[in-house]
């Protein structure tokens, strides 16, 4: 089967050759004019999250600094993705729960581009631990650019090679990681685009 690559960004994408290699780009921004597929929810506490989720529909992504909000978001039925940025906090229990509830955890590249020095070193270390846990529990995850503007986008090959190197250096099973990331990317693509898809494990062959 052909592998399809999905990328999540936070702006309305326009044509650049930096987008090379992706089949579907899902923008997460609540811009009414654009034909968007993702629905972004930003919340700083749990009650705000619940209020905002009532209006939400479609492919919902939650972005939050607070650990409690992320844990609450995983338990909500509407939430599909926990979006990534440099301040996100996520812990062991949340990752374990996300596997149960089938919530995708995003691991983005662009957070490394926004910080430098010691902060970046800490972030790299945290990400290695995160990847290790994601592999341990087989939690669905996706590797994305997570870009906030045009210049934070990187071509697909560069992105996957970066995470390959990062996990290899941290003593994580890099081959398995890339394989799982590709599988999940395929799954998300089918969920969003394929009309024959019903749910995981059921598909229409013929009418």
């Amino acid at each position: 089967m052909k592998i399809v690559y999905v990328d999540f960004v936070r702006f309305t994408p326009t044509e650049t050759d930096l987008f090379e290699g992706y089949d579907l780009i899902v923008p997460f921004n609540n811009d009414a004019n654009s034909d968007i597929k993702g629905y972004l929810v930003k919340a700083s506490n749990t009650s705000e999250l619940q209020k905002k989720l009532k209006k939400a529909k479609g492919f919902v992504g939650v972005m939050s600094e607070d650990l409690k909000v992320n844990r609450e978001a995983v338990m909500r039925r509407k939430v599909c993705v926990i979006l990534d940025f440099e301040g996100r906090k996520i812990d062991y229990t949340t990752i374990k729960m996300a596997k149960d509830k089938d919530v995708i955890i995003e691991v983005s590249l662009s957070k490394f581009l926004r910080v430098k020095g010691l902060k970046r070193a800490k972030l790299l270390d945290e990400t290695r631990l995160l990847l290790k846990l994601l592999l341990k529990f087989k939690t669905p995850f996706i590797l994305t650019t997570g870009a906030e503007n045009q210049l934070e986008v990187r071509p697909r090959k560069q992105l996957y090679r970066f995470f390959y190197f990062l996990s290899k250096d941290g003593g994580i099973d890099c081959v398995e990681l890339i394989k799982l990331a590709k599988e999940n990317s395929n799954r998300i693509f089918r969920k969003l685009v394929d009309k024959k898809y019903i749910m995981d494990g059921i598909e229409i062959l013929d009418v």
Binding site: R77, I202, V207
Partner: protein
């Protein structure tokens, strides 16, 4: 709490329905001899399906297989792991599975 309305007879409901009497075909299996077994389901246990074929009754395990099934007006491919419950439990557990899965199409 938001309530999910699953449309009766939608393709996702196949995992909650009775399988005895359905026409099935094994399409994916780790055992190559099992692929292509085709017939009518005559009996069912928690882990297996009994399929009546032209060459006698065959017993096929559910887990790790994929079945081609005629359900309503659709021809579906269903992974066996989703129906690996006792037939009487399946209506409860199947609906739970559908509700749990994100972005499942339930109103076709």
């Amino acid at each position: 709490m938001l309530k999910l309305k699953i449309k009766l007879g939608s393709p996702a409901m196949v995992i909650t329905d009775e399988w005895i009497g359905m026409e099935v075909e094994v399409v994916e299996s780790s055992n190559p001899c099992e692929i292509g077994i085709k017939g009518v389901v005559v009996d069912e246990t928690m882990r297996t399906l009994r399929i009546k074929t032209d060459r006698g009754v065959k017993v096929v395990e559910k887990k790790g297989r994929a079945f081609k099934v005629k359900y309503g007006r659709w021809l579906l491919k269903v992974r066996g792991d989703l129906i690996a419950f006792r037939p009487e439990d399946r209506i409860k557990k199947g609906i739970m599975l559908i509700k749990k899965s994100k972005l499942a199409k339930i109103d076709v």
